[in-house]
Structure formats: structure tokens, C-alpha cells
């Protein structure tokens, strides 16, 4: 989308399928093609490793996950940095999990000792209240991986009495408004909430026609 008046943008096909892509797919898949495709799919699989208690049985780890009552997820480098600067410390929080994934934009690993400049996706738990979980996801989760990420992260949690808060950032230039964004005082907050969320929201709701994308949207 154009970010300023006069910018020329090449728009992707709104038909949803490029003519080249459909011609490509019409060709029969050879066994070699299938093998390559399966390898690629395996490479793009996501692994979520929970390290809830060293030496604990898988059952108790699963129980602990089910007991989660508050889950705060920071997606993107800015949101992850916010948590690092203002919330996380080694005294009150402990690492309880890590996501291992690969895509064209980034690769994460098992290590939990990360630098702020690394791409990572880590889970923390509040020591004083183990039902509070936190996730810092500074890596990009590709479109074909988002559903898997959700299934594997939320799979063990109970949906009832679980409150999820997602923190994310977007460029001001992407904000759609009647006025120009040049003079808009930033940064500013906007929120979206499900109808089940009954508490007060701390900022105005996101106005139409603005949208949320990627993992926060998923």
C-alpha cells in the first residue's frame, strides 16, 4: 500500500493466484518434486519445547500449562524489547520454553541465553505466580507457520478462564486516517478485543479501516 501521497506501488495480484503459479501447478508432480516438497515442509515445521521443571514428568508439565490464567505475548522486536526493558528480570521470571523454527527470514534455536539482536521466541513464567506466562517472539513467523505456532503453543492450555494479551507494533505510516500521518503525535496505542473480554481497555479501539496482520492477527 502507498505510504505517502505520490508513492508508486506495484500491487500484487488481487486475483489471489498468479497465472504463472496456476500453470506451474497444472504440471504433474514428479516423485522428486514430492520429495523436495516434503523436505521443505519438514524444514518449516515448528517445535515448541517446554522446560517447565527440570526432571518433572511430562504429565505435571502438561498440568502446569493447563493451569495458565494469564498469557502475555509480545510479537516483534519492539514489543519484545519493551518486555525486556520494563518487565523481565532474572529474579522474578524464569524461562520455561522455547520455539524452534526456520523460514526464509529467520531461524531460531534451542538456546535460551539470547542476545537482543537475535531472533528468538521464548516463554517465561512469573515465579511468584506460576499461572502467569509471558512470550517474547522477536522472530518472524511465516504465514504457513502461524496456524502451527498457535496449535502448538495454545494446544496444552485451557481456554476457559485464560486471559491473553498480545503486544505488537505497527509503523505509523500504515495507520489509515482522514488526516495525514505526518503531523500525528506518535507513538500511540490502539486495541482490539474479543467479545469475551470484559475488562476495561486502556486505550481507544482500533478504528476501521485499519487492520492487524501476521501472527497478532492469527
Amino acid at each position: 500500500m502507498a505510504t505517502f501521497f505520490g508513492e508508486v506501488v506495484v500491487a500484487p495480484s488481487r486475483a489471489g493466484v498468479d497465472d504463472e503459479e496456476s500453470a506451474e501447478e497444472a504440471r504433474e508432480e514428479t516423485p522428486e518434486d514430492r520429495e523436495i516438497r516434503m523436505e521443505l515442509e519438514k524444514k518449516r515445521e515448528i517445535d515448541v519445547l517446554w522446560t517447565l521443571k527440570s526432571g518433572a514428568s511430562p504429565e505435571s508439565s502438561a498440568d502446569e500449562l493447563r493451569a495458565c490464567s494469564k498469557f502475555i505475548i509480545a510479537i516483534g522486536r519492539n514489543a519484545a524489547a519493551f518486555l525486556s526493558s520494563f518487565i523481565l528480570d532474572s529474579v522474578c521470571w524464569e524461562v520455561v520454553g522455547v520455539v524452534k523454527l526456520w523460514n526464509e527470514w529467520c531461524r531460531t534455536s534451542n538456546i535460551t541465553n539470547v542476545l537482543p539482536t537475535d531472533s528468538f521466541c521464548l516463554f517465561y513464567r512469573l515465579i511468584s505466580d506460576p499461572t502467569v506466562l509471558l512470550c517474547q517472539c522477536s522472530c518472524y513467523v511465516a504465514e504457513d507457520q502461524q496456524f502451527q505456532w498457535l496449535e502448538k503453543v495454545f494446544g496444552g492450555m485451557r481456554k476457559e478462564s485464560l486471559q491473553v494479551t498480545i503486544l505488537s507494533t505497527c509503523p505509523v505510516a500504515d495507520y489509515k486516517t482522514q488526516e495525514s500521518t505526518l503531523t500525528l503525535p506518535s507513538p500511540f496505542l490502539r486495541a482490539l478485543k474479543t467479545k469475551e473480554f470484559k475488562e476495561q481497555v486502556c486505550c481507544p479501539l482500533l478504528e476501521q479501516p485499519n487492520i492487524v496482520r501476521d501472527l497478532p492477527a492469527a
Binding site: F5, G16, E143, Q178, E179, T181
Partner: protein, 191 residues
């Protein structure tokens, strides 16, 4: 997904492009759901690149329709009464062999795949499409939905006293997602 139970209508709006190589499985999944949920009819609203029209298609109405054989039996006659134009087939090998004709919907995305699959699966499907160009497609949307309304009569068209037309444009509600489609307001500093 939207629904209007009073008219037994469900609407699927596909707002995003497909992940590479996943559009075929998507079509299969969608059509097996159509069959398993015993959906009576499917109407596919679509479009095709205006610039790919041949000389004849440049004249007259830019609207076309297609019916699967199962739906043709039910409503084929109605289309004749409405004087609707069926989407023409084109030569498979233009210039070389003009007798072999195939269905070609350039810019139609998954339209052709859904239609041909529905034909073979015995699904009652109608395709309603308009030839259009890249750009502001809001007027095209109105034309297409009025076309649909000629058949389904979702909104009773008020015959306007001044020009005896059955244009229902003013009765449709414009979605808020159409606001600011072409960018924000201008920075005052520009002037």
C-alpha cells in the same frame, strides 16, 4: 464468513491471497464442505481481466455467467429470460486450431478450478463475473451485486420514477473497510 439466516444465505469473503501451492487443497476442502453440509447452491462472484477481452466481448455488457450442468437444469431458463450472456469459450490454440474451445478466465483466480471441480462433483454452482480493470473497483462491485440481485432478488428494487431503472445502488450499505482505500489525507505542508 457472514450469514443471513432469514434468507438462508451464507457469504464467504476471501480477503487474502493464497499461500503458495495451497490453493488447490483449499478448493478441495471448500467443495467437500459444500457437499457434506448439503449446501443447496453456490454462487461464485468473480471477475476477469478486461484487457483480455476479444473484439466481440468489447461490445455490450461486461457481465457474464456460467452454470454447472446440475444448476443449468434448474435455472437455465431463467437466465434466458433475464437475457444474461454466458461466458464464451476461447480457442485452446488460437490461430492454429480454432475448433477446440476451452474455458479461460484470466485474472479469475480460483474461479475456473472451483467451477470445473463443481461440474464434475455434481454441485449446483453459478459463476457471475464482470470484466474489470485494476484500479478503483467500487463501481464494479455495485454492478456485480446488482447483477446478482436481478436473479436472487435479495433487495426489492425500487423502480425509480424518473428513469424507470431497477438500479438498487443506493440501497446497498457501503462497508467501512472501503474507507481511505487510496491512502490517507494529504499533508498540509504539501501546499
Amino acid at each position: 464468513v457472514y450469514s443471513l439466516p432469514s434468507k438462508k444465505l451464507a457469504v464467504l469473503q476471501i480477503r487474502s491471497p493464497f499461500i503458495k501451492n495451497k490453493y488447490r487443497p483449499f478448493c478441495q476442502t471448500l467443495l467437500s464442505w459444500v457437499k457434506s453440509s448439503k449446501c443447496a447452491r453456490v454462487v461464485l462472484l468473480s471477475s476477469s481481466h478486461a484487457y483480455q477481452r476479444d473484439d466481440e466481448q468489447l461490445l455490450g455488457t461486461p457481465l457474464r455467467y456460467l452454470l454447472t450442468p446440475d444448476l443449468e437444469k434448474a435455472v437455465g431458463g431463467l437466465m434466458q429470460e433475464l437475457k444474461w450472456k454466458e461466458m464464451e469459450k476461447v480457442a485452446a490454440y488460437p490461430g492454429i486450431n480454432d475448433t477446440e474451445k476451452v474455458l479461460h478466465i484470466p485474472g479469475g483466480g480460483i474461479t475456473k478450478l472451483l467451477f470445473t471441480e463443481s461440474c464434475s462433483k455434481g454441485i449446483q454452482m453459478a459463476v457471475l463475473l464482470k470484466f474489470c480493470s485494476e484500479g478503483d473497483n467500487i463501481p464494479d462491485a455495485f454492478v456485480l451485486v446488482n447483477y446478482l440481485n436481478e436473479w436472487l432478488q435479495l433487495i426489492k428494487s425500487e423502480v425509480s420514477a424518473s428513469n424507470n431503472s431497477t438500479d438498487t445502488s443506493s440501497q446497498w450499505k457501503i462497508p467501512s473497510s472501503w474507507r481511505l482505500l487510496f491512502g490517507n489525507g494529504l499533508p498540509p505542508a504539501l501546499f
